[in-house]
Amino acid sequence: MQPKKTKLALACGALCLGVSGASIADTFNLTVNTIGDVTILQEVQMDFGENITTDASGSCAMNIATPPAATLLTDTVLVFTGTNYGDLTGANCVGVLGTPGVYSITGEAGLDVTITLTDEVQAGGDYTFTPAGSAVIYDGGALGDTIGSLAVNTPTASVTLADVTGGDLGGVIDGETRFAVGGTIAVGATGLTSDTDYIATFNVNVIY
């Protein structure tokens, strides 16, 4: 009789659990994976060269409206033609060609970033520098990339990073975009000093 009594006790125990509302708990792990930080890297330093006159109240501008495809690593050569890239124009230019700055942004492939190009107070003398920028907006496929003209002191949204898996070509690095920077040097009423090196500062902010 003793073995039979034991079976009843077990069955009762199971029944009691089912009807009493008592709970069973266990612990599970949730893994949180953050995306990588977005980073900015200088590829080519912007350089107007020894092409600026000292004359007061004039300006010199460097063109970056349509950078070449090979420089910005895009496959869309019909858009990124390189036409007039680096051309210098203005009363304070004596040369005809400068070197636009080229910068890369690295983040998560295929995501959009917002770029804000900001001018800065120039500490080096009587001049201002207003940057101008052109970025690659990747399309995640072949031959459809577009130019994003970067506004100054205003965020430019929806600049899509490259997605090589999705089909972006042209030697681009997955998760990267590039932008070129030129702009305008405007000399103030005092003028500049001849045969002198100057620095033009500006700021770039990138956020997802």
């Binding site: 912007m46 350089d47 600026i52 620095i199 033009a200 956020i207």
Partner: protein, 216 residues
Amino acid sequence: MKFKLNIALAAFLLPLGSQSMAADAPLTGLFKTIKDVTISEVAGNEMVINGLQMTSGDSCTLETPTVGANWAGDTLMLSSTAGAATPEAGATPYGETSGVGCSTGISVPGVYEIDGASGASVDITLANASAGGISFVPAGCASDYDDAADGDLCAVLAVGTTNIDLATSNDEVVSAGNGQPEAGKSRIALGGTVTSTIGLSAATAYVVPFDIVVTY
């Protein structure tokens, strides 16, 4: 298991909405101002017109130096005109005069050096001048560089404005026997015509100041 996966995905997307992933980069570009452009007379080449024998209204012309005639020479002009039909050592004779107001004798064309930024484009402006009853109309040429070995020209100068390019380091590569360009420089050789509104005194030096204006 499916429920657990959904939670993980939601947490993964969360940072995108938080705008916490950003980068800020202060960046710098460069530029350099060019050196001021200057012009000076090359020593020993002050313009002199000898042997004037003028009455009022007479003229005398110091032959205009050009690559084709009365050439100052590649060496003096800091120029490499190899390939052009020019006597690289300079014309002989050099500095001839002609006109009813001239007598025989060799004169000296003026040679002037421009010093500025390498490869810069400059405007050279000549103007008529007069002093003491003598007027002067300058004419000549200026070394005009091509940013490459040899092949330099001498741009014809007359009253008015002419544009030339100063030499670059690429111009400094030259064939043997030619002049030696110097980056940032050019030279001007000038003759011209003097006309008198008076009868000139014998054995007297007359000075007529004139301007050469060079601007970027």
